[in-house]
């Protein structure tokens, strides 16, 4: 048999893996680097896993989330049913791939169910009893608990997660968030935009936009609320944000053109106040035409999280728990970040130096995110919406 460099390299990698010189992640990466297809990688990994299994059977390859018992139980259930977790959203496709490579457990759920809104997800859990896990807006996570639709589980990274971002009893846990940012067309805007007060510059006539009507759209609602943070208010007081928007409106800087992708790309909106992940995505889409930079206001802004829930009557409860273990693992959390959603363990990963430099370079500076406040208190959201309801009329009518 002729000497085949590819086979030799696979042998070498497999040896390093079975003798634990490299961990599972490095092994997978190595195999992928050789240009092997996913099924081929799965075969090799399966072969090596058998080879490396020890009589105790409790050992889990390092880097693979979950305990041996949980993995075995989840594999015994054979599949997981998901709702509201679409592949193109926050890089979920890569997380699906990771799940399949690690555990080989089938993911079920139609693509329509994947696109469900949070409200539809809860309806589906209540009415069909099919879903095991869902990804919902924070308000719906709280609602799911009160309606008895979710089951408690605390993943093994529980202590990394801020108290405000998890239910004390484990009924929901935030997985990632987006923060309000300034999305600046640097070709058209010649002054540096670092903080809220910069938006009042006279050179920005008809230039500053928000993403829709704040009494209707969550994105622009948080834009107004975030403006409060930089102007003497905050989570408890949205009024300074409304006043600031009124100031922008009277100065002629606020444009009624919606800060949509089209209007940002055409230059109709030169400074957009919107979610950082949307801004980063439109920056990549623009690819220099125009040049766009995304920054977090230096005096702070607000972030709104998404949360994971396990259905109370999940048909595959262990697979559901294993899914939690996976998405809060370093690997999956970094995949969220790659999709520009800030993983809930961002601080822990950043402190441990686990964020790759090339990825960090694509994001606003990590320091700026220290001033970002995560909004998870439903009562405060309701109170802010109420104040906005009356206050916004004055802004648009002035």
């Amino acid at each position: 048999m002729a000497y085949d460099p590819l086979l030799a390299r696979i042998d070498q990698l497999s040896d390093s893996y079975t003798t634990r010189q490299i961990d599972r992640r490095q092994f997978l990466k190595g195999l992928a680097f050789l240009g092997l297809s996913l099924p081929a990688i799965n075969l090799i990994v399966a072969a090596c896993s058998t080879a490396s299994s020890t009589p105790s059977a409790a050992a889990v390859p390092s880097g693979m989330p979950g305990t041996a018992d949980l993995i075995a139980a989840a594999k015994g259930e054979g599949s997981i049913y998901q709702t509201g977790i679409p592949p193109e959203w926050v890089n979920y496709q890569a997380i699906f791939d990771l799940w399949k490579a690690d555990y080989g457990i089938t993911i079920n759920g139609t693509s329509t169910e994947g696109e469900y809104s949070s409200g539809q997800e809860l309806d589906s859990i209540k009415n069909t009893g099919k879903p095991d896990v869902g990804d919902v807006g924070i308000a719906f996570a709280v609602q799911a608990k009160t309606q008895g639709l979710s089951a408690p589980y605390k993943n093994s990274h529980w202590s990394d997660i801020p108290d405000t971002a998890k239910d004390a009893d484990g009924y929901w846990c935030c997985n990632y968030w987006g923060a309000q940012s300034f999305v600046v067309n640097t070709d058209a805007v010649k002054i540096p935009i670092k903080d809220w007060k910069d938006l009042l510059d006279p050179s920005l006539k008809n230039a500053v936009g928000i993403d829709g009507d704040p009494t209707k759209a969550n994105d622009s609602f948080f834009a107004v609320w975030s403006a409060a943070v930089g102007n003497g208010g905050g989570v408890d007081n949205i009024q300074p944000g409304i006043d600031f928007m009124n100031q922008l409106q009277t100065s002629g800087n606020l444009t009624a053109a919606r800060a949509s992708d089209t209007n940002i790309l055409s230059g109709e909106v030169k400074v957009a106040i919107k979610w950082d992940y949307l801004g980063l995505a439109v920056r990549d889409k623009a690819a220099g035409a125009p040049n766009i930079s995304v920054t977090i206001p230096s005096s702070g802004s607000l972030a709104s999280p998404y949360a994971d829930i396990i259905a109370a009557k999940a048909p595959h409860p262990n697979a559901a728990k294993l899914w939690q273990e996976l998405i809060y693992s370093d690997d999956a959390q970094l995949l969220f970040l790659k999709g520009y959603a800030h993983p809930i363990r961002y601080d822990a990963l950043n402190t441990a130096g686990k964020i790759p430099a090339d990825l960090a370079a694509k994001l606003p500076a990590a320091d700026l995110y220290k001033k970002v406040t995560l909004v998870t208190n439903i009562d405060k959201i309701t109170a802010a919406q109420k104040t906005l309801g009356t206050g916004w009329k004055i802004v648009i009518n002035s």
Binding site: K205, N206, A207, G212, D213, P214, T215, K216, N218, F221, L254, T255, A256, A257, R258, T262, N263, S266, G267, E268, Q385, K386, L388, G389, K393, I394, I396, N397
Partner: protein, 298 residues
């Protein structure tokens, strides 16, 4: 068929009643449609406007907007916008329609009618986007004019204002005017003019004493149609201004599907206000229509 034959022979009261019964049977689909999609919703709107959205108890509170100047701003904006776009669309549309009739070339008339039907129905988000690309701060026309030394936005013009919306609304109001004014203009018989000329009337006298009196009613009723049309428009205004220029239809939409101001009862009350204005417009049109019909029937 039988009753028709009998009716044509006899025409006695009993037969007439039978014919009336058949006629109302024929009207049944239309009556059902009107009941389901016009009368019932109106009744429900009216009922809802006097009931509290949360408790369901009887209240006049939904109409409290009538006493708050800031809540009447949408009505003022809507009235201004509708009036301005009606005058602009009405006058320009009339001139174009007359030009088309005067051309006396069937091909031009057909092309113009087809184009007008398309343009009169081109609205909503695509139209908003087309106008942003043309007259937005970075729009093609805005930038071209800026290059030629005319600074629209520096001069106070904004696409996202009542003035800007007037221009956008005129885009479908003009072709709509052309469509509704073509038939009466085409129905003006050349013999009327010839008769006037034979009797020694000047061009002005013909216009003053013959053409204008006949055309005044269809013209005014067309204006009313344009006005009502502008008043109820929603999608274009929302696509363009995302609610920054408060208009009554946008305000209603906020109240029924906003996350923040959800209050269907108040939306019902606003809709009744809107419906009252629309009813005056359409009722006025009907009155004028009946007056001119006898002249224009051939």
């Amino acid at each position: 068929m039988l009753s028709l034959t009998v009716g044509s022979i006899a025409g006695t009261p009993t037969v007439a009643r039978r014919r009336g019964g058949r006629a109302s049977l024929v009207l049944l689909p239309f009556a059902t449609l009107i009941t389901l999609f016009l009368l019932l919703p109106t009744v429900s709107l009216f009922w809802g406007s006097f009931h509290d959205s949360k408790s369901g108890s009887f209240t006049f509170a939904n109409y409290s907007y009538l006493g708050h100047p800031i809540d009447l701003v949408p009505f003022r904006n809507s009235l201004e916008l509708s009036l301005a776009s009606t005058v602009l669309g009405g006058l320009v549309g009339l001139l174009i329609a007359q030009a088309i009739v005067s051309s006396r070339r069937p091909i031009i008339q057909e092309i113009a009618t087809t184009f007008s039907s398309v343009a009169a129905n081109f609205a909503g988000v695509p139209l908003a986007f087309a106008f942003i690309a043309t007259l937005g701060a970075e729009g093609l026309l805005t930038q071209t004019l800026l290059g030629a030394g005319l600074d629209l936005y520096g001069g106070g013009f904004k696409l996202y204002s009542v003035l800007g919306l007037t221009v956008v609304y005129a885009y479908w109001e003009i072709p709509l005017m052309v469509l509704v004014m073509l038939p009466p203009l085409q129905a003006m018989k050349p013999s009327w003019r010839e008769a006037a000329e034979i009797l020694g009337a000047s061009r002005w006298q013909y216009l003053r004493h013959v053409a204008i009196p006949i055309l005044m009613t269809p013209f005014l009723s067309s204006l009313l149609l344009l006005y009502a049309n502008a008043f109820g428009a929603y999608a274009t205004a929302y696509g363009l201004t995302t609610g920054f220029v408060p208009l009554v239809p946008l305000q209603i939409s906020n109240l029924i599907n906003g996350d923040v101001n959800y209050d269907p009862g108040q939306a019902d009350a606003l809709a009744i206000g809107l419906a009252a204005i629309m009813a005056v417009c359409i009722g006025g049109r009907a009155v004028l229509e009946s007056r001119s019909a006898r002249w224009l029937s051939r």
